[in-house]
């Protein structure tokens, strides 16, 4: 990048080529996650979809959100939030799993009437 030195003194300028590369990868992965729904992988389908989403999310966070070049502290801040969410969802799922035996088949709470 010949224009690199024109940028700010205190922040990193992401090269266009990197941005376009990530953009291409995100487009490809979106089409892939769409296409993979036509393949029956059984219970694996959701994990494949989530895995692809995780890769896409990581690309966005690392490059578009500059985490790759910024102070690692921001990445720690984000990861701590994600960790909290995962613990939250994990424990909630464990808890509701305990009630599986009490569930009435085909019935779910939540109706107002």
């Amino acid at each position: 990048m010949s224009k690199h030195h024109e940028g700010p003194t205190y922040a990193h300028v992401v090269p266009v080529r990197t941005l376009l590369g990530v953009f291409g990868a995100l487009m490809f992965l979106t089409i892939l996650t769409y296409a993979v729904t036509y393949v029956d992988l059984g219970a694996l389908n959701i994990w494949v979809a989530l895995g692809i989403a995780l890769v896409k999310g990581t690309l966005v966070a690392l490059v578009f959100m500059h985490l790759l070049w910024d102070k690692k502290f921001y990445a720690v801040v984000l990861m701590s939030a994600l960790l909290c969410v995962m613990i939250f969802i994990g424990i909630a799922l464990l808890d509701s799993g305990q009630y599986q035996a009490d569930l009435i088949p085909d019935f779910a709470p939540g109706i107002v009437q």
Partner: protein
Amino acid sequence: MSTPHEGRDEHAHPHLQHHFESMAQQYDSGKFGMWLFLVTEVLLFGGLFCAYAVYRANHPEIFAYAHQFLDKTLGGLNTLVLIVSSLTMAMAVRCAQLGQQRRLKQMLAATLLCACIFLGVKGVEYEHKWKHGLLWGTHYVPQGETVAPADAAGAATTAETTAAAAAAPADGGTTLPHAATGPQGLADHSQPGHGGASHGGHGPAGPAPRNVHLFFGIYFVMTGLHGIHVLAGMIAIVWLLRRSAAGEFGPEYFAPVDFVGLYWHLVDLIWIFLFPLLYLIH
């Protein structure tokens, strides 16, 4: 801005606030604040993802059935639109950093355009669901029921109760005994299918499970909150466009573009997870 700060360099940047040492320090502080805000956003949506996970784990049949009402081509199109907008936003940050005023405005305008397309497509999807009565709670009255979906959707509380009362006898022969359906089970008037109604071109196959409205409650809250975030992002981008029209951004001062960019990418990131979880259920 006009009053010079004491003991301050005469040539200090006009956008340097008096309580900061340098533009770099101001930028770092702002960025830290922005990340803390994004953390609260992650936690906000985290609660909704938790609700999704619990309901899907407990009632997979509802999700397997109801997601067929969603158009995954439109959802996929919106995903692509948001990715394009993320690219243009990242380019806008770059242009601001390099002081490319003209391209900065172009990139911000392109991002805004993508946001409009996203909300437009979302509007088409919402309208389709509204028309077919595919809504939350007691508003879930799929096409083919005795009550016209449009009425049920816009109805006041009194109309809801009559709608429920009118629909309940039709469903009189519930498969579950009343005791088993629980105190709320009587409102189970939400089953489509016994009219053999088709729901547009992509009507779901197979019999409907009970309480499909739960899916649409989750769908509308999650995509609705996300849509509100897109709207907020659009307002922020308009603000950036006004400021960039005044030529305020450059290599020394691009923080607002950068921070709105961070927010915009997070909104994109949330959609990246919403799309497969809501539209691409196998």
